[in-house]
């Protein structure tokens, strides 16, 4: 492949690739994203290579290793084209059967298919409920692309948007399109991308930077990682188009240190794009020059904050800077620097290809397009899901996520990462978009969505996030460093049953000062988990403080395990399993727990057979006197 010197040459290359490819030729795609990799996708891929070869099929079947499909918990995922047969939880041992049954006999291996709640098998990926209700504009190509092969991206229309922008549009035209599409930032605040671009474009100074924020520090979030690993060219294409609109010739991709595969695939992508003249000087013969460097971040949560990120690019310690001038005007080396999130950039080619109107038709009044969420917690199907803005929480959690497992009740969903908030059941029909989430005291953030069931203690949830932030605050400014520390101590006291009335006061006072006084947004928003749980679950805080009760039965210091004498069937299972020998009992005897010895590990509750249900959690009440030792079980 040589350098492409015009839009026409790119189109020619695309045609060549497409004619070379037979759409009916079977292709085995093996997800090799980080999740599936952990399940051994590499072994699966090797087994396919071997088996296909030993069956003499190497010329008749293509094999492709792709990025993440989103349904990671069911990995390793294998999809066989053109039929789009989707196999889940594939292990290397399954390969001979897949090869002989599916590739040779053209039949489906039933046992590897998705099975729905009614026991129905589903053959095609797109019919699985988890996928069926999504609209995967950004993420969907992951399953069709080998991220290390630029031809795969070009075959699907890749770089057509760049070529259109460079050959048919002015920089102002590109900017107007993005503004009209009302693309809002996917990395946190939802700031309109076009407006930010314009600020950087208009800021004085010849040298300007465009930057991809791939720091992704939210615990449990991995959408940016999956995009970069699985479809790096889509992000790169967006970035080059943005650079053209802004008038920038240098870019940075700031990638978290912990994402080596993303860095590897990006490096390959940059090299291949340079070879084709899609990056570097005189891109596609247009006279526009632009190149990109990868900067590997140190991996702290706060490094994703814009001023910290830019300080780190300058080669200094990545701490937030106390500046009242926007980084879009004065960022890296005090030059105008436009920073956008990975997913934001990946939206840009779509907008240029399909037009602002098309894009603005998807979503809600104020939030356009789709958003990728990382759906985790107490839901049946977890993974990465991409839905149009405005889909309700209920649809995401029940239709895509399959609802709450174990017959439990939904309690709340936490969105927006550590600075976000919880949303209670009464808002399940809330359309998910930037403004609606903010209205109920949470936020979009980068798209974390943690589902919580009735067994979740909201004070404990707040404590979890505050504890996370206590470790992630950079420690530079007093309100954040010391305020979060004190907040954590308050929450610890509450969960440990040592709180007093002044703690309720501190719960109100500390957030107020932190919100106003912290240097960067980490500290300013750090109390959101507390504020939002207080807003909807204040009664739980009060129960902890006033009644020493944890209504969800989570906080160890406030609960006791107790065996209900009339329910105990003397099966002796708990007695055998208690790690500290705290259970007294014997054959035919009612079992009792010695509260002095019990370490509250919860094993007895777990092992007591459900049909007996004799072990219960007590909180905020006196533990009843145990029945005298040696009392026999009354069998009716």
């Amino acid at each position: 492949m040589g350098r492409l010197n015009s839009a026409a040459e790119l189109e020619k290359l695309r045609e060549e690739i497409l004619t070379k490819r037979d759409p009916n030729k079977p292709c085995v795609t093996i997800c090799s994203g980080t999740g599936c990799h952990a399940y051994g996708s590499e072994k699966v891929a090797e087994a396919f290579v071997e088996n296909i070869k030993s069956n003499g099929l190497q010329d008749k079947v293509d094999i492709r290793r792709t990025g993440c499909h989103g349904f990671c918990e069911k990995g390793t995922l294998v999809v066989i084209f053109p039929e789009e047969i989707c196999y889940l939880r594939v292990r290397p041992d399954d390969i001979p059967e897949i090869v002989s049954t599916t590739l040779i006999e053209k039949k489906v291996v039933d046992r590897l298919l998705y099975e729905d709640d009614d026991g129905q098998k589903i053959t095609h990926e797109s019919e699985i409920p988890f996928y069926k209700h999504q609209s995967r504009m950004i993420f969907g190509n992951n399953r069709l692309i080998d991220p290390t092969n630029i031809e795969d991206y070009i075959a699907l229309g890749g770089y057509a948007a760049l070529s259109k922008a460079l050959s048919e549009m002015t920089p102002e035209g590109v900017m107007e399109e993005v503004k009209e599409a009302n693309l809002r930032g996917r990395g946190g605040g939802g700031f309109p991308a076009g407006v930010k671009w314009e600020t950087t474009r208009d800021a004085p100074g010849e040298r300007k930077y465009v930057i991809v924020n791939a720091d992704e520090g939210d615990p449990g979030a991995y959408m940016d990682r999956s995009l970069l690993e699985g479809n790096p060219h889509s992000v790169l294409e967006g970035l080059i188009i943005g650079a053209y609109a802004i008038g920038s010739h240098e870019g940075y991709i700031y990638v978290r240190q912990e994402y080596p595969l993303a860095v590897e695939n990006l490096n390959i992508a940059l090299k291949q794009a340079r070879e084709l003249g899609l990056l570097g000087s005189d891109i596609l013969g247009s006279g526009f020059n632009f190149d990109v460097k990868i900067h590997r971040g140190a991996g702290a949560f706060v490094s994703g904050e814009s001023s910290a990120l830019m300080t780190a690019i300058e080669g200094r310690v990545g701490e937030p800077r106390p500046k009242y001038i926007r980084t879009a005007v004065s960022g890296v080396w005090d030059r105008p620097s436009n920073l956008n999130n990975v997913e934001t950039w990946a939206n840009v080619p779509l907008i240029i290809n399909n037009g602002a109107r098309w894009f603005a038709d998807i979503g809600t009044e104020g939030s356009k397009g789709t958003k990728i969420f990382s759906l985790v917690g107490k839901v049946k199907n977890t993974g990465l899901v991409e839905v149009p803005m405005g889909m309700t929480l209920r649809e995401v959690i029940y239709d895509i996520g399959g609802g709450i497992p174990g017959g439990k009740k939904f309690k709340a969903v936490q969105t927006g990462g550590p600075s976000g908030g919880v949303i209670p059941e009464k808002f399940l029909d809330l359309p998910v978009d930037f403004d609606e989430l903010t209205k109920v005291g949470s936020m979009m953030g980068s798209g974390g969505m943690i589902v919580m069931d009735e067994d979740t203690c909201m004070v404990d949830v707040a404590r979890y996030f505050i504890n996370f932030l206590a470790g992630e605050s950079c420690g530079k400014c007093v309100p954040c460093r010391e305020g979060i520390h004190q907040m954590l101590k308050v929450l610890n006291r509450i969960c440990e049953g040592e709180s007093g009335d002044e703690d309720l006061e501190l719960l109100d006072e500390i957030p107020e000062v932190l919100g106003d006084a912290a240097l960067c947004a980490l500290g300013q928003t750090a109390c959101n988990p507390v504020l939002s749980t207080l807003r909807y679950f204040r009664d739980e805080y009060e129960a902890h403080i006033m009644k020493r009760q944890c209504p969800a039965g989570v906080c160890k210091a406030l609960i006791n395990y107790y065996i209900e004498p009339e329910k105990c069937q003397a099966c002796m299972i708990c007695l055998r399993n208690c790690p500290v020998g705290a259970i007294d009992g014997g054959k035919n005897l009612i079992h009792t727990i010695d509260q002095e010895k019990c370490t509250k590990c919860g094993t007895c509750l777990e092992v007591c057979p459900t049909r007996f249900g004799a072990v219960i959690v007590l909180s905020g009440v006196e533990v009843p006197e145990p029945v005298p030792q040696g009392t026999e079980v009354a069998r009716g």
Partner: protein
């Protein structure tokens, strides 16, 4: 106009040249070594290089030669404290615009630069701006912080991480003030925020006082009883500090937060002073969040600190001697 790159290993020379030219309206970058310069040249185009002839590693002429492989028409001016006919001839052969023996006349240098790069277009006449601080009107040059403007008229805004010789840092947040523009009010750090025309500033409004009080209470838990916290603590009436007149009473009431002393409020004055004023970096931060602490780096500190100790005097808590004692005991082992 493309920027100028100064390549000079002597810090004082480099910085004063950079300041002089920056004040003159040029965009200036600097490097202390040849390799660093070449890296900068990789990253951007320059209009002119000002090179010290003698540099550690690659010498000035060599840097120019290599730079021209990337940017063939790049201009260079050589400065040197060791002029000799031979080096001058070499330099001219290399096509430098001029060869200046140190010390040289800065005005002469600037003339040379403007001949090469053309006249500076930016306006450098200082403008002034006017604002109202606590109901008093103040006029100050553009680029003045609210803190400086307030101090000019004798309004005392409390600070713990500010120092005239150091770049604003914004860590203690004690200097926060309320600013009002039209209907909107905002809280900002006065040691960073630059005065704008028409700005209205309240330095002791209710939200400001509330923040300061809690910040002091938070710091008190780390450094109870240190003088600046006693002074400010009295001014804002923090819990745990009972006073009569100007003296602190013993057996103080309950502090707002449990005292867990470290005797360092992490204002960073020591770290920044050592880096920015002394250029030594003998002391620095390690750790994040509440784990963050100040440490002397023994390799550097054991050489530099004994004769300096200038940061000891600016530490608001007096924590440094005990930190430093560790370096000394280690060294004596």
């Amino acid at each position: 106009m493309k920027p100028i790159l100064i390549v000079e290993d002597e810090a004082i020379m480099r910085e004063s040249l950079q300041d002089w030219l920056t004040d003159g309206g040029y965009e200036v970058e600097s490097a202390s070594q040849g390799d660093e310069a070449l890296k900068a040249i990789e990253e951007q185009d320059f209009g002119l290089l000002i090179l010290d002839l003698r540099l550690p590693g690659t010498d000035g002429l060599e840097v120019l030669r290599k730079a021209r492989e990337r940017q063939p028409k790049l201009n260079g001016i050589i400065i040197t404290a060791y002029p000799s006919v031979q080096t001058a001839v070499d330099a001219m052969k290399e096509g430098v615009i001029d060869y200046l023996p140190k010390p040289f006349d800065l005005n002469e240098l600037e003339k040379l630069i403007s001949q090469t790069l053309g006249p500076v277009q930016v306006e450098i006449r200082p403008k002034t701006v006017t604002c109202v601080i606590d109901d008093r009107e103040v006029e100050v040059p553009q680029g003045t912080t609210i803190l400086e403007a307030a101090r000019n008229i004798g309004i005392d805004i409390p600070t713990l991480c500010h120092h005239e010789k150091l770049a604003p840092y914004g860590a203690c947040r004690l200097c926060m003030v309320e600013i009002i523009r039209g209907q909107r009010s905002r809280l900002v750090t006065s040691c960073v925020y630059l005065v704008e025309d028409g700005l209205v500033v309240k330095t002791e409004s209710e939200p400001v006082v509330k923040i300061r009080k809690m910040l002091l209470e938070l710091m008190w838990a780390r450094a109870p009883g240190v003088q600046p916290l006693v002074n400010y603590g009295m001014r804002y009436g923090i819990s745990g500090l009972e006073t009569q007149g100007n003296s602190v009473l013993g057996g103080a009431s309950k502090t707002k937060f449990e005292v867990e002393p470290t005797f360092c409020i992490l204002c960073g004055l020591c770290v920044r002073y050592c880096a920015e004023v002394k250029g030594k970096n003998a002391i620095g931060f390690i750790g994040r969040g509440t784990e963050r602490e100040v440490v002397f780096f023994p390799e550097i500190a054991s050489k530099e600190c004994a004769n300096c100790k200038e940061c000891f005097a600016i530490c608001p808590t007096g924590a440094l001697p005990s930190h430093y004692a560790l370096v000394e005991t280690d060294a004596s082992k």
